[in-house]
């Protein structure tokens, strides 16, 4: 009797010592009742191609997307407002069906389906639960997400401390690029390979990238993944907000543009990709897609963006290419340019075509710089005066490709003020990408930005002075008239 009492006391004591600061509230009622027929019809029409007719995540498209569409039969859900290991609320399901899961193929259905239709789908998704969990132990309480505190530098700094202390970097990497020591080889409950999220890519936060979303994600955890709930490790809500603020401070949206502008530098272009001239150079994020245009098609590429900068001086032009990669592998990157001035007719965007060859500048972690020409298929060529150098640090590749401004035989000349078409290919070594198995972009343009000639000031100043002259003429005339 005594012993059990002591034990009980101990349990009570320890649990209060770790009392976690999570405010809970009762689950809100579901506003729409199920219409089984409509739910099934909508599901078959909009969801079955991925999630499968029986909700097993095995629809005809399932093999062609990464991550795999969810198998609903185990009733394990990621984006929730309920405690770790619990089922989601109906509102959670409604929210995630409406907003989709950014960074995956699961779209935001609010664009296409009415509120009522989405509620019917919530009910229908729950019918696949083979263990009957939704019936037997529905959740009664959900986490309250308070209003977020202001993102101050102090809060972010506190979060940065906690990030280190709580070893988030073990998986997510010291700079949040998903390159922690344990990043490789993780699997989820469904046996699929899974990688820690790269916090710098704000468009890939599955649960949303608002600070409230991030707070919710690691308060509740993602069930079925190695991403645990951190309420026990970080019991104070204030601390969790600080951490959310820090994670949010790492994220940035893509900065897309049609033109990559190369600025002029006096003297040498720095060969160190971490030099301050490069940090200061304007960058553009070019979105990439899997090469699904010709066989062998590549549906599940690793990389979705490449960041490029360019500088030139009176002799050379240099491109700095950056991409994040949680697992180093042996990646390679290609810059595609036409071999000659193209005028209005460019080569086909994918490796050129007959009569319109392209010049491919390549750098690979294995072989360094190399070069090819392609008219549909690529053949090696001499490097010429092309220099390719690169490396990997803190979850990021940086590669520098440079060449003389003036082109020789079968290569374009870069000139200030002239647009040259440019496209990018990226291959992730760790994901088995090689040859046509790659991510790619369509054509963009690179422009060595001319230094402003003084003549551009001629017209504005001329017109300004003319206006001034006219003014005084009018002034004198009218005042003379007045005096008379």
């Amino acid at each position: 009797m005594r012993a059990t009492n002591v034990l009980l006391l101990l349990v009570l004591l320890t649990s209060s010592a770790f009392a976690v600061d999570v405010k809970m509230e009762p689950v809100k009622p579901t506003p729409v009742t199920a219409n089984t027929q409509l739910g099934k019809k909508l599901y078959d029409r909009y969801c079955s191609q991925c999630h499968g007719n029986e909700g097993k995540g095995d629809g005809p498209a399932a093999e062609f997307v990464y991550p795999r569409p969810r198998d609903f039969t185990m009733a394990i859900f990621k984006v929730r407002t309920t405690l770790s290991g619990q089922l989601p609320t109906d509102h959670d399901l409604f929210h995630l069906i409406s907003e989709g899961l950014p960074g995956t193929s699961m779209p935001a259905w609010k664009k296409f389906l009415t509120v009522n239709e989405r509620w019917q789908l919530v009910h229908h998704v729950k019918t696949f639960d083979s263990l009957g969990l939704f019936k037997e132990e529905p959740v009664k309480e959900q986490v309250v997400i308070d209003t977020a505190p202001k993102m101050t530098d102090a809060l972010i700094a506190k979060g940065a401390g906690l990030y280190q202390q709580k070893k988030c970097g073990q998986c997510h990497g010291s700079q949040g690029r998903g390159d922690g020591a344990s990043a490789a080889g993780m699997k989820d409950e469904w046996g699929e390979l899974i990688r820690p999220v790269n916090f710098t890519k704000s468009w890939r936060f599955r649960g949303g990238d608002r600070i409230e979303d991030i707070y919710r994600t690691f308060t509740t955890g993602f069930n079925g993944t190695p991403m645990p709930s951190f309420v026990d490790a970080i019991p104070a809500a204030d601390d969790r907000w600080a951490l959310a603020a820090f994670v949010k401070s790492l994220a940035r949206p893509q900065k897309n543009a049609q033109v990559l502008k190369a600025s002029f530098v006096k003297g040498e272009i720095p060969v160190d990709p971490y030099a301050k001239e490069w940090e200061g150079a304007e960058f553009v994020d070019f979105p990439l897609a899997g090469q699904i245009i010709q066989e062998p098609r590549w549906f599940k590429p690793m990389h979705d963006v490449i960041t490029a900068r360019a500088l030139y001086n009176d002799r050379e032009i240099a491109f700095l290419l950056e991409w994040d990669d949680g697992i180093q592998g042996a990646d390679s990157v290609t810059v595609q340019l036409p071999t000659t001035d193209t005028g209005n007719v460019k080569p086909y965007f994918l490796l050129g075509n007959k009569g319109h060859p392209v010049d491919l500048w390549q750098w690979s972690a294995k072989e360094g710089g190399s070069r090819m020409t392609a008219t549909g298929a690529a053949t090696p060529r001499e490097l010429g005066n092309l220099i390719g150098e690169g490396g990997y640090k803190d979850g990021q590749y940086r590669v520098l490709l440079r060449r003389s401004l003036k082109g020789g035989e079968n290569e374009v000349s870069f000139e200030p003020g002239k647009f040259t078409p440019i496209a990018f290919h990226l291959r992730d070594g760790d994901n088995g990408e090689e040859g046509m198995k790659m991510s790619l972009s369509t054509w963009y343009a690179v422009l060595p930005e001319p230094t402003m000639p003084l003549t551009v000031w001629l017209w504005p100043f001329g017109i300004g002075f003319l206006a001034l002259g006219g003014e005084f003429w009018l002034l004198r005339r009218m005042r003379r008239k007045c005096r008379k």
Partner: protein
């Protein structure tokens, strides 16, 4: 009375136009078009003001008072300095070099060629007809469903889950993949045209449609003729539209 304020009212109306045109229209209109509208608006205001002699005099009054030296000294200096500055700035906006990508006009629905090569055989575009239509409804539903599978294993990455041209790869391609829900795409096209587009893809386009930048694959290299017709059945059914037919043309013409 109000008349005293003519000049200022004209100024405010003019600015109002500018703000409305610049910020009130989505998507934003190009600067050159804005310029034309602003010139028209300004001319209109000036014409209105000048139409009545008294109004015109009232309009000119504030300007006159500056030039004749009746306005307060500060106002005189400000106006006299502002006018050349504005003129110079306006010229700068017009003449300063800008580095926007060269504009490439593109014909979205070009005239199809009268014949094209399908699996190596010349095929007349106008004679193409979907052989799968005209079967009984149950059979049609089955074929459409097969088309759906083909769509989700080949097309949805670009053309989207709900056929709205917004698949998870869509943003990497320029021009962007066609939105089949839009009335400006397949619902205004005949099935023969759509077949030609699907079979020959981006590279099959004529020059004016900039074939070298379209990421639309050449599907005859990847699908059989029947598979292409099936997927066409599905993109119409899935987007809730119907192909354009000549019968319809005739009946439209009749009304």
């Amino acid at each position: 009375m109000m008349r005293r304020w003519t000049f200022y009212i004209a100024l405010v109306v003019c600015l109002g136009f500018f703000v409305g045109l610049k910020f009130g229209i989505h998507p934003p209109i190009p600067a050159s078009v804005l310029m034309i509208y602003m010139v028209l608006a300004t001319l209109g205001i000036l014409l209105f003001v000048a139409a009545n002699e008294e109004r015109f005099a009232a309009f000119l009054e504030p300007l006159k008072s500056v030039f004749e030296g009746r306005a307060p000294k500060v106002v005189q200096v400000l106006v006299l300095v502002a006018i050349p500055l504005l003129a110079g700035w306006g010229t700068w906006l017009r003449t300063s070099p800008t580095w926007d990508a060269p504009f490439e006009p593109r014909v979205v629905h070009p005239e199809p060629p009268s014949t094209f090569n399908l699996h190596g055989f010349p095929t007349e575009t106008a004679k193409l007809k979907n052989p799968l239509r005209g079967v009984d409804p149950a059979q049609l539903e089955k074929l459409t469903n097969e088309g759906k599978t083909i769509y989700y294993q080949n097309c949805f990455f670009c053309h989207g889950d709900a056929l709205a041209g917004d698949g998870h790869f869509a943003n990497a391609f320029s021009p962007i993949p066609a939105n089949f829900r839009d009335v400006g795409t397949i619902s205004m096209l005949q099935e023969s045209f759509v077949f030609w587009r699907v079979a020959t893809g981006g590279p099959g386009l004529p020059k004016g449609a900039t074939p070298w930048i379209s990421a639309m694959p050449v599907w005859q290299n990847l699908l059989t003729e029947e598979e292409i017709w099936k997927v066409i059945l599905y993109i119409y059914e899935g987007s809730g539209s119907t192909p354009r037919t000549w019968d319809e043309e005739v009946s439209h013409a009749g009304h």
